[in-house]
């Protein structure tokens, strides 16, 4: 089987883009990524979590390609909630490995700011079980809060320790030209921010933001970083029946497989982008990837030098929902290359893209 390379990429700055339609925004980055790659693509995979809910748009791929005059190219939509980006990368990798296609573009896009903030809560809550969770008012935020409460108690941390995650993310995000909230923050800002689902405060949430990212992956050209392995896993245990609330099972299973296939260990990771839609999930992802021991991630954050979410993560770069995984892939590739980011010292990067609160994860290993 042929190897898969990331031969072109483009990012749209994350923010509030009231002046652009969802298909135009996606087309813009797709055009740039294809131009960057200098190749024709055989197929396009579109990752979007909320196109139907926020924009009332289905068949998004067709409208993106219409905007680019790309007739006859097949476009497929991939939806796995806020883990759609990782899912699309996983599908693209499989298509290229099977040699059905030689060059595939993955484009992630979502525009949560096209609806009012109350409606955003409804839309984001679509990733929980609609019959037995959302019906009763349960949201991803409340699930993450329950996990945070149990984690802080179990490992004897204070809320101030958890708030360090937001500080690290904001610190990292300053260096990302595409980030939504590009500013440093103080501990008291986080600790005094609005309580949203105790113990979680406003600073524990990655703000929902508009964004689009694209990457061109090819199996017949050896330009750019190589996609060493991509694995995905679903965690089908309902939230109420979880064995542990401080383990991300979907991440654990996907990463074990991805690391095994790539023949790397957590020690080889020079840079990781993890899905910290809520601070606690980033903490658990760091532990799940083996970058810190169980219960040790917050201590590692405080010590500094944890090479995680150099983009600023969902907290500072912004939570671009279904586009997040594609942002992460491009960010890791560019961090390894030293392109638009400070170059990291090492050859391996990892992305963790997650749908819902540990319902689905993709882990991809990128090598320079």
């Amino acid at each position: 089987m042929k190897d898969v390379y990331i031969v072109g990429a483009a990012l749209h700055p994350v923010g509030r883009h009231y002046g652009k339609n969802i298909d135009d925004m996606a087309a813009e980055v797709l055009e740039k990524a294809i131009g960057d790659a200098g190749v024709d693509v055989d197929a396009v995979l579109v990752a979007s979590s909320t196109a139907e809910l926020a924009e009332r748009q289905q068949l998004l791929g067709s409208y993106i390609l219409e905007s680019l005059g790309l007739n006859k190219t097949p476009a497929f939509r991939v939806e796995n909630g806020d883990g759609s980006g990782g899912a699309a990368i996983s599908m693209a990798y499989g298509l290229l490995k099977s040699e059905e296609y030689n060059c595939v573009a993955v484009v992630g896009v979502d525009k949560p700011n096209d609806v009012l903030s109350n409606q955003q809560q409804d839309i984001y809550a679509a990733v929980v079980d609609t019959y037995f969770e959302r019906y009763f008012g349960v949201t991803p935020l409340s699930q993450a809060a329950l996990m945070a409460k149990m984690y802080l108690k179990k490992y004897e941390y204070r809320y101030e320790d958890l708030a360090q995650w937001a500080l690290l993310m904001h610190n990292n995000g300053v260096g990302n030209p595409y980030a939504y909230l590009r500013r440093q923050v103080k501990l008291e800002d986080a600790v005094n921010s609005e309580l949203v689902s105790e113990p979680l405060r406003l600073y524990d949430i990655g703000p929902l933001a508009d964004g689009a990212a694209a990457a061109v992956l090819c199996n017949n050209r050896k330009d750019g970083p190589r996609l060493l392995s991509v694995s995905a896993s679903t965690n089908s245990t309902p939230f109420n029946a979880r064995e542990d609330y401080d383990v991300l099972y979907s991440l654990r299973d996907a990463s074990q497989l991805a690391f095994k296939k790539a023949k790397i260990t957590p020690r080889d990771i020079a840079t990781a982008e993890v899905h910290d839609s809520f601070s606690i999930l980033g903490v658990l992802a760091v532990e799940g990837l083996g970058m810190a021991q169980k219960g040790g991630a917050l201590a590692a954050v405080k010590d500094g030098a944890l090479p995680v979410n150099l983009s600023g993560g969902l907290k500072s770069r912004g939570n671009v929902l279904g586009a997040t995984g594609v942002y992460q892939l491009v960010e890791v590739a560019w961090q390894l290359l030293g392109r638009e980011f400070k170059r990291v010292d090492g050859s391996y990067g990892v992305i963790h893209s997650m749908g819902g609160v540990d319902r689905f994860s993709t882990v991809a290993v990128v090598a320079l």
């Binding site: 019906y135 008012g137 935020l141 689902s197 029946a241």
Partner: protein, 132 residues
Amino acid sequence: MKHESVPIYWRNIPQYYRLVAKRCKKCGATYFPPVVRCRCGSLELENVELPREGKLVEFTVLYQVGTDFLKQKPLIIGIVELANGVRVTGQIIDAQPNKLTPGTKVETVFRRVVVDGKHGLVMYGYKFRPVE
């Protein structure tokens, strides 16, 4: 996007009203929400009603809620372990958060969940309240 549709609600009435779960006839594992196939591989599952008494495992006070719950906020969302060990996630009501702790005894009660003012639809379901 707002409230659940009437057919969705109607289908789930046995679960919403009486906490009807599925139990595997082969290994005895009980599932709530109900499933089609047991983890042991068996497809022979029967309906069982869950016990109404339980204890709180953990809870959070949720201030940022969806449009259906704006008038009821904040919500207390808790994980409840029922007497047979099956856990359910839901709202804890008639409670002061500062008096709740893991281990607090609770019982299942039947309550209004969502009211659609436009069409006058009222939808019901289980919630949990502390018992003295």
